[in-house]
């Protein structure tokens, strides 16, 4: 009994195994970009950019990428984990990990699972505990939101720091290049009797 569901679920689990969860994606990353980016590790079967309906703020995008088989999926994860892999920008690397059942919103029901529920009237002795649990749920979701906010702040901070660094590097680079190209370095070299050419 329940075989169709079981088969369906088994097929779904197989799909989960060949799927990779990728995050830290820029909002500019589209399905096509992601597909092309990961095609080098195997054959991308489908890409689903996970829509964000709940978390406020601009959190990085994440996506589910279904590969041809679970071997390819593993390869993607290990490649991306070993070397920083960048899509559509640098230097922030993307992250990847094997997908999980809960990541799919179209997951089928688990076969033979029993769901039980009941209504608790305010007179019920458990009502207070349930109330506390509800309260916890709210609290936890607020904490989660706060942590997300903090994380975003951290990310911004790092990004800013790096941007400054990059600017400084670039300034130095430009300065050197300028000095080299307009002959100032040569003149100074001659003045101080230094050889400037590398040969």
């Amino acid at each position: 009994m329940g075989t169709p569901t079981k088969e369906e679920y088994a097929a779904f689990e197989e799909r989960v195994r060949r799927t990779v969860y990728v995050d830290n994606l820029s909002p500019l990353v589209t399905e096509a970009v992601l597909r092309t980016a990961l095609d080098q590790f195997g054959t991308v079967k489908s890409v689903q950019v996970i829509p964000n309906y709940i978390v406020p703020g601009n959190i990085p995008r994440c996506a589910l990428v279904e590969m041809e088989n679970s071997k390819e999926a593993k390869a993607v994860v290990s490649e991306i984990t070993q070397l920083p892999f960048m899509i559509s920008g640098m230097p922030r690397p993307v992250r990847a990990r094997p997908a999980e059942v809960e990541m799919f919103d179209d997951r089928p029901r688990k076969p033979d699972r029993k769901i039980l529920c009941r209504w608790l009237e305010p007179s019920d002795p458990d009502f207070e505990v349930a109330k506390r649990l509800k309260h916890l749920c709210r609290e936890h979701s607020r904490e989660t939101e706060f942590l997300i906010k903090r994380q975003l702040q951290e990310e911004e901070k790092l990004a800013k720091k790096q941007a400054d660094e990059l600017k400084t590097h670039y300034k130095k680079h430009e300065l050197i290049e300028g000095v080299m190209s307009d002959g100032t370095a040569q003149r100074l070299g001659r003045r101080y009797n230094l050889r400037l050419d590398d040969r």
Partner: protein, 558 residues
């Protein structure tokens, strides 16, 4: 019953190519009115003040059973599709012609279900459309110049080549000679004041009635008067378009003579319902109704989807489902539930068939606007969307559409499952949230389900992304390149570059964030377990609604 209106077929057109049992006709006369192919007609629609308007594109009889059928391509009243109007502001008497392929485009109905002719003029500037004269326009009950695509719900002023397999030319205004053809017959039937003879008087009435009083309060009086005066049929007919009460009056001039209006009305109504709907209360209603409901509420769950007319089995079942549904709402016994849960599976099947076209995101948006969107929290994260739908069905006896949210932004598994649930109506959503707050719905692992309104995140189109650095100088040029060539933008970093160094900094941050999420979730789960341990939950009180599922899972298996 005794004075069943006369039905007569007009000229034959030929026999069906595939089915010899089908005889096509060019016209028919019913209740003294001659309806020809490509006429616009009104259909009575039970329970709605408005009639449905469509164009007859096929008239035929199934010879063995003598069933008289018409195929209709629908016009939409703007109110029927108001959710898809966007910033389109329709004219008061504007209709939109259905186009596309999907459900709601056309239906097959009993010929007897037609209640009146309706003068619909196309005002499109399309070159294929013979332009209507000003007088024709004034005489028109309705005008249309746009199409509504039932597939993607788009409104367009372009007309495709074909609609429902019928050349679009037939939907435009008739060429002059065609009009002349049909009018003499009118004259013959209605010698009193056909508008062809006295355009002036007719004009004044024609404009008078539909224009100024689409639903006049005292319309019955005026109607009766008009019919006594023997007004041209057209005037009475278009009253019929205005309201269902008066809809049946259209036969007044034919058989009523100058009987008191009310009397005739009642009579004719009885007859209509008997005549048209041996199987069902109304033939026209269920079909188009479905479409309408869909359009208004988007994700509403309506079963009995298959729409290709003739199959009454389907219709009958859809009816029973509806009945079962209503019954059920009041009946909590497991037995009926069992029966109904079969129904709950239906939405799924339906969704697969033709709701697919509405992406979930749009549905969410619409539901938010309609305030039917509720976010359920504290679900078991492993629940599937279907299970949530069933949970809601079980708890509230509401058919809803639900989807678990996919978790994002963290690498760790969330402890709380969340699902967006779209209720059928605002009231249903409100009462569900209210109920969830006043008494608690507890799952068997002790989770009380939390439900609340939650607005969707407004997605702003962010173009910058923290951590992606671009030197100002190269910014513009670079982005354009990226668009063109995606591969060049994805690469692994080499270890001897600045980029690599910076990437490592990000990696560190990512690792850190993993840790703090893990920490947070551990704390959470600790406090949850502690609180839950205090629950004394009497297991016997739990209701398993598993047993019903099995039935439907078989059904829905393939």
């Amino acid at each position: 019953m005794d004075d069943e209106p006369e039905f007569k077929w007009g000229r034959r057109r030929g026999v069906g190519e595939r089915y010899e049992d089908i005889q096509y006709y060019e016209s028919f006369t019913y209740g003294g009115i001659e309806y020809s192919l490509y006429d616009s007609v009104c259909f009575y629609c039970a329970g709605s003040p408005e009639t449905y308007i469509g164009k007859l594109v096929k008239l035929y009889e199934i010879t063995p059973t003598h069933e008289k059928k018409v195929r209709v391509v629908w016009f939409f009243r703007p109110t029927e599709i108001r959710n898809h109007l966007g910033d389109v502001e329709p004219h008061w008497n504007e209709l939109l012609l259905a186009s596309g392929q999907g459900n709601g485009l056309s239906n097959i109905n009993y010929a007897e279900a037609v209640i009146a002719k309706c003068n619909v003029i196309c005002t499109s500037k399309d070159r294929r459309n013979p332009q209507a004269s000003e007088e024709e326009l004034r005489r028109a009950h309705y005008v249309f110049h746009r199409t509504f695509n039932v597939d993607n719900n788009e409104i367009s002023d372009k007309f495709p080549e074909e609609i429902g397999g019928i050349k679009v030319e037939f939907f435009f205004n008739k060429k002059k000679y065609q009009q002349n053809q049909s009018q003499p017959s009118l004259k013959a039937k209605q010698p009193s004041q056909p508008f062809t003879e006295s355009p002036r008087s007719d004009l004044s009435k024609g404009v008078d009635s539909p224009a100024k009083y689409p639903k006049p309060p005292g319309r019955n009086d005026s109607l009766v008067k008009e019919s006594e005066r023997g007004t041209s049929k057209a005037t009475v007919v278009e009253r019929g378009c205005g309201s269902s009460d008066t809809a049946n009056l259209k036969r007044l001039p034919v058989e009523g003579g100058n009987k008191p209006g009310i009397h005739v009305k009642d009579k004719s109504r009885v007859r209509t319902s008997e005549m048209i709907s041996p199987q069902n209360t109304s033939d026209t209603r269920p079909y188009k109704k479905k479409m309408t409901v869909l359009n208004i509420k988007g994700p509403t769950i309506h079963k009995g989807g298959p729409n290709k007319g003739e199959d009454f089995g389907v219709k009958a079942t859809s009816k029973t489902f509806e009945k079962a549904g209503t019954q059920l709402a009041h009946d909590k016994s497991a037995k009926t539930n069992n029966q109904v849960l079969e129904v709950t599976k239906r939405p799924d099947a339906d969704r697969r068939n033709w709701f697919k076209q509405l992406p979930w995101e749009e549905k969410l948006q619409k539901a938010q606007e309609a305030e039917t969107l509720v976010l359920l929290e504290n679900l078991d994260p492993s629940f599937s969307s279907v299970e949530v739908e069933e949970l809601i069905w079980h708890a509230f006896h509401e058919k809803v559409e639900a989807r678990m949210t996919q978790f994002i932004s963290t690498f760790s598994k969330p402890l709380y499952g969340k699902a967006f649930v779209i209720f059928k109506s605002k009231a249903a959503a409100q009462s569900a949230v209210c109920e969830l707050n006043s008494k608690y719905l507890v799952l068997d692992d002790g989770r009380p389900v939390v439900g609340r309104y939650r607005n969707l995140r407004v997605s702003d189109k962010a173009t910058s992304f923290p951590g992606h650095l671009v030197l100002d100088r190269f910014r513009l040029q670079k982005q354009r390149e990226e668009m063109r060539n995606a591969v060049s933008t994805a690469h692994c970093s080499q270890s001897n570059t600045v980029e690599f160094e910076m990437a490592m900094e990000w990696r560190i941050l990512q690792e850190k964030s993993n840790l703090w999420w893990k920490d947070l979730y551990e704390n959470h789960s600790k406090s949850i377990t502690e609180a839950r341990s205090r629950l004394k939950l009497n297991r016997g009180n739990f209701v398993a609604f598993y047993c019903y599922f099995r039935v439907e899972s078989h059904e829905g298996g393939l």
